[in-house]
Symmetry: C2
Subunit: 257 residues, 2 copies
């Protein structure tokens, strides 16, 4: 089983889009895949037609009564797509940081739950919220690959430096290394801001950045309107082809770059 975290503290960079598209591709290739929505705002849960406000059991249940959890299997909802499952978020997740506060040992709740599911899924994708807190710490503790979507624009570059510093701090506590790959998203070759940011990213992070880019593609919005992974809507769209190339690269390298 391979566990992927998709994270960046900057909002709106394509975390949910990356999760849906990559997990969708693996499911289409016959791999049993679970997506976990760790964002209290519940974009991933909404994408597949569930309501984070009213959902009964969600990731939140894992944190409520550790160990006595409703069987993990009941947390994994089927989607309309073969091999693709969802562990939904509920808006109650927004209260976790306040509730847990400085309580020890709450950083491994998700990792333990995922281990219990090891025989059911070949891939697990964790969609993170755009904020540093107990949920992101859980995601990084549970994963063995990390994708960091970064919009090709100025503000996102500065944000990446901060994200990598934070990552360094969190990862010091892990025993196993976590390889990461920086994925340039929403690349628009018509604008100077995109071209300069990409050049800057490649100069500063030559070893961790993916050699290609995810281009701007208006079909992503269309796909989310219809609740379909883009590869189901149009496998030949620019965005779908780019994510398929990313998946092939990461799988071929065994880990990162």
């Amino acid at each position: 089983m391979s566990v992927w975290a998709v994270a960046n503290q900057k909002g709106g960079v394509g975390k949910t889009t990356t999760t849906v598209t990559m997990a969708g591709l693996l499911a289409q290739r016959g791999k049993s895949t679970l997506m976990i929505d760790l964002d209290p705002h519940g974009s991933l849960t909404t994408y597949f037609g569930y309501d984070p406000d009213s959902i009964e059991t969600s990731v939140y249940s894992l944190f409520q009564n550790e160990g006595g959890v409703p069987s993990d299997a009941s947390l994994c909802l089927a989607t309309q797509f073969d091999n693709l499952y969802l562990m939904p978020a509920s808006t109650a997740l927004a209260t976790l940081d306040r509730q847990l506060g400085a309580r020890e040992g709450m950083g491994l709740v998700l990792a333990r739950a995922i281990q219990r599911l090891a025989d059911r899924f070949e891939h697990v994708f964790i969609d993170c919220p755009p904020v540093l807190g107990v949920l992101m710490v859980n995601a990084l503790a549970a994963s063995d690959r990390l994708l960091i979507p970064v919009q090709t624009e100025f503000l996102a570059l500065k944000g990446l430096e901060r994200m990598l510093r934070t990552l360094g701090m969190i990862l010091r506590a892990r025993r196993r290394p976590l390889s990461y790959i920086i994925v340039p998203t929403m690349f628009d070759r018509r604008t100077r801001a995109s071209l300069e940011s990409l050049k800057n990213l490649r100069e500063h992070h030559p070893d961790e950045i993916w050699k290609s880019v995810i281009p701007v593609d208006t079909q992503f919005r269309e796909a989310s309107r219809l609740g379909l992974p883009l590869t189901q809507l149009n496998a030949h769209s620019r965005g779908a082809i780019a994510y398929a190339t990313l998946l092939d690269t990461v799988l071929a390298s065994g880990n990162g770059g």
Copy 2:
């Protein structure tokens, strides 16, 4: 003094862009304007050339020793633009929810600090993080106008319903009403997703939605690369003209839409 909050739990919808552009416009019109960065990720602080990781005094100081705060004036940094000031964020803000936990009375820290600055600024803009927590509660308690940027795409619509439900809960504790205006952003009239979402927004929120839209404009990214509000880079760009129209509408109506 007029205090505006710019908030939406969804990431990447244009909160920071709205703050910079509206505050920039007011400053250019000769109004003394303060921008407050409440996002631990510090996009607004970075935009104006400061570093949220290393900054000494920031909004965080307000929460540290309530009452014995470094004089609020020292928290307001000058920018290179006349009449435009910044109260920066530091990354330490990310720890506030955990630190404060369920402690009472921490929802009014920002409101009290802003009241102390009433004689120095005509307008105050609060840029919120994409997460519901003590920082957003502080922003909503401190403001008398609320702008909710909403991307014209499907996921954002669902997110808006949740945001408005949350808002209702938080506002019940306020004595004064808070009028809000929904600002459709990144509108791309070439895509069906944008057109349908806008139609949907107008049907569901006829009284609270602004009658126009902020169009997609690649110059916003250029402006952030150069650290300029768009209206300083190019006052005749589509995005700048749209925000100027928004500002005129809100000022003319005295309050909301």
